[in-house]
């Protein structure tokens, strides 16, 4: 899945789990921004139930990705409608990619984001 961004992130000790609070704070089909270790992350809750986390800042002109519209595959930056794949962060409109993070919802309905060593450097 993540071949495009480099090595697959391995679920080992280098990965740190961040609890971002209840999933309910994100309305279905929308995104919200979170600060994680000083990095801004946009977390999206799709209508399918899937949850994705990508960088909150558009590499094109700094647009707020969390304000973007999504479908099952992409998010559109609200400023200039650049599109990015939610699962890989790759742009389908020729921009630099967004960083992506692995994100889950735990048994108590909390969003858990896994920051790997390489990501927290960026």
């Amino acid at each position: 899945m993540t071949a495009i961004l480099g090595n697959p992130s391995e679920p080992d000790a280098a990965e740190r789990a961040h609890h971002l609070g209840p999933l309910d704070q994100i309305p279905v089909g929308e995104g919200r921004a979170f600060g994680v270790d000083g990095v801004q992350v946009a977390v999206f809750r799709l209508r399918s139930g899937a949850v994705h986390a990508v960088s909150a800042v558009c590499p094109h002109k700094g647009g707020p990705i969390a304000d973007g519209q999504v479908d099952g595959a992409i998010v559109l930056c609200p400023l200039h409608m650049n599109a990015f794949e939610l699962s890989t962060g790759c742009s389908t409109t020729g921009q630099q990619p967004l960083a992506t993070w692995r994100v889950d919802v735990d048994g108590s309905g909390e969003i858990v984001l896994y920051a790997t060593h390489s990501h927290s450097q960026s």
């Binding site: 071949a3 495009i4 961004l5 480099g6 090595n7 697959p8 309910d24 704070q25 994100i26 309305p27 279905v28 089909g29 929308e30 995104g31 919200r32 921004a33 600060g35 801004q40 946009a42 209508r47 909150a56 800042v57 002109k61 700094g62 647009g63 707020p64 990705i65 969390a66 304000d67 973007g68 519209q69 999504v70 479908d71 099952g72 992409i74 998010v75 559109l76 609200p78 400023l79 409608m81 650049n82 599109a83 794949e85 890989t88 790759c90 742009s91 389908t92 409109t93 020729g94 630099q96 990619p97 390489s118």
Partner: protein, 849 residues
Amino acid sequence: MTLLEDAPVTEADESRDPGGHRARRKLVVVGNGMAGARAVEEILQRGGGEQFSITMFGDEPYGNYNRIMLSHVLSGEETDADIFLNSLPWYRENDITLHAGVRATRIDRFSKLVYAVNSADGTTSHTPYDVLIIATGSRSFMPSIEGLRTDDGELLPGVFAFRTIDDTRGMVTYAQHEDHRRAVVIGGGLLGLEAARGLQAYGLQVDVVHAGAHLMNAQIGPAGGEILRKSVQKLGIEVHTKARTTAVMGEDKVRGVWLLDHPLLECDMVVLAAGIRPNIDLAVTSGFTVERAIVVDDYMRTMDDPDVYAVGECVQHRGEVYGLVAPLWEQAVVLADQVTGTDTTAAYFGSRTATKLKVAGVDVASMGVPGPERDTDEHIVFSEPRRGIYKSLVIRDEKLIGATMLGDTSKVAFLMQAFDRGLPLPEERLEMLFNLGTPAEEVGAAELADDAQVCNCNGVSKEALVACVESGVKSVAGVMDKTRAGKGCGSCKTMVCQIVDWAAGGAVQEDPSANWYVPGVPLDKPELMAAIREKGLRSVSAVFAALAPDGAEDAKSKMGLASLLEMMWADEYIDEKDARFINDRVHANIQKDGTFSVVPQMKGGVTTPAQLRKIADVAEKWDVPMVKLTGGQRIDLLGVKKEDLPGVWADLGMPSGYAYGKSFRTVKTCVGSEFCRFGVGDSTSLGIRLETRFQGLESPAKMKLAVTGCPRNCAEAYVKDVGVVAIDGGRWEIYIGGAAGAHIRKGDLLATVDDPDLVVKLTGRFMQWYRENAKWLERTYAFVPRMGIEYVRDVIVEDSLGIADELDARMQASIDNYVDPWLEGAAPATPGQFRTSLPLEVLPRVPVR
């Protein structure tokens, strides 16, 4: 390096091949440029997807784009998004693993592995192959010039190569800097001239420094070069030929260049376009036979390994290295035939290169040799320097072996055919240079030979286009997608249209998706509305589930559907916030830094001292960075943070002015008969009345209105979606379909009436009909001419369809459903509706006055 130290192989496990087929062989392509991607496309076309699992390595972190068009991106004619040939989803759809931003470093021919390193994080990997294609392309030649690089080997700031999309973006940004006034382009070939012309678009003074004796010396002779120089200089570009650049001056950034025997040429920017060099390092390191480029045989195989092929600008075939795009397409066809085994007799024998393009605004065509080579060669020349026209032909043994056309390329279609296929030439040689009376001026679609190449970028012949039309594709866009004709430089698009039109016998279809209301639901507006009504679909998610292919959501379709559903269902509409664009989620207009603009309602542009005092207090309390009057006579508070919106609204205590949506926006008015000496009608009252009635109405595109009190038109009513003009005798003219934005159009007169009530009624009826029939984002200036003003008048004024009452009733239902959206400030509709989405401090700041 040993295998154990390397990262795990990222290859898919072939044992899970579905259906128990023989496991596919591994095809690895090093290079994701035009050659590599084209080779893969040709392979896929031959069923290569069944035979191979395909992996591609690309140095650049993108999909595949049309490098030829970079000069258009530089000049601003196209955006960088326009030039992508294969975006990332294409790779996924074709089951291709793309490693973008990963550079292949070494090929181990004996263990059949490609070693690569990720440019971003330095991680390494190795990938096994059964068949390998090297398509590493070429790079800008960097001449050894003193001062070109800083001590750490980087290019001096202000020095650019012109090869990649990143180079181009860098050049655009640098050229836009206000302190940068002068640029020097090193290299007076095709690319150099394109770069010079592109940079001029940013107001830079440009000098071209060319080492050769004349411009474009690879393609044209000295006499043509001299004429080209005059044409280029006429454009304001200074040309220095026989000029050797000895040094680039500047410590921190470029300040100028030194030429041999020439005073310092001061400049802020240097672009290197001094030719290209094949990328051969990988092949050399890996032990392949390399001369000027990677040597291949007529089957596009390397000399050293029958499982390794090479294609494109990195290839040397029969002593030739090509730098144009057409040979690369021909090579890719042969390569694909061989690799897939489709035609094992396919062979490449070299290309005759012919080009026709606009260089820096000058039409240039050249083919074959630039001038006579033997005493017996015929050389026919016409030169008219004043008009920048130069034509030259070289004929040997009654065959055209070379031609140059500058400034006038009207005969090029014929010459290219003659050159390509050795056609017999007219006894009267002059006929090859000019159209002498009959026959018709241009080679028409009907007369063109079947095998004549129409698209020279992608090598598509007339017969291929005709065959595509005959196979059932009857739209120009469809034929272009299928054949790729017109998808290179685009200069042949007119010809492609003519041929498709001719082949379809005039029955050309419009692209079906062009008529869909939104891209994600394959229905036009009447079909879509009928389906929505029939199935009772009241929310955007319900529409996708019922009507989209596979029920898939489409982000680009949501806004249009939300607008349509709200118009159709009024109070029965189920408002899903995620279907809304951010402006409609928070009822304000997003700005470049992620803040919002707040425009309170001010009907007809009329305000009061108390209202102004309130706005001033709010602006101060909330530190609003800019207060600005809008074109629609409103007051705009700019730079409000999302989280402050509810507070700002509460303090204002005024309803939304709708300066953000695809909706009814404003009614601009003049003071009309109330104060003006010339006013003949009470325009302010009528404007306020219209705005009160239609406030906030959803529509396919925004609607801006005006009412003006006399034909002096101070409120600009002639150029509004609906504009009302008071004329003498207590009458009112209603104009529709006007515009004064990017498109300027005077509205058409819909009706002249003597009663303001009738103005309100007809305005509402027209807007409702427009809401029900216009395409998404189709403004009235396009809608009204599309329908024809006579027809609109028949429907709206004469009620020729008998629908006037229904239109009025549906409009009334929408009006009754109006709720001021700013009330959501006190009771947010969703959790975190007004939560910040951005770390504002990392954003470009809008200057605060």
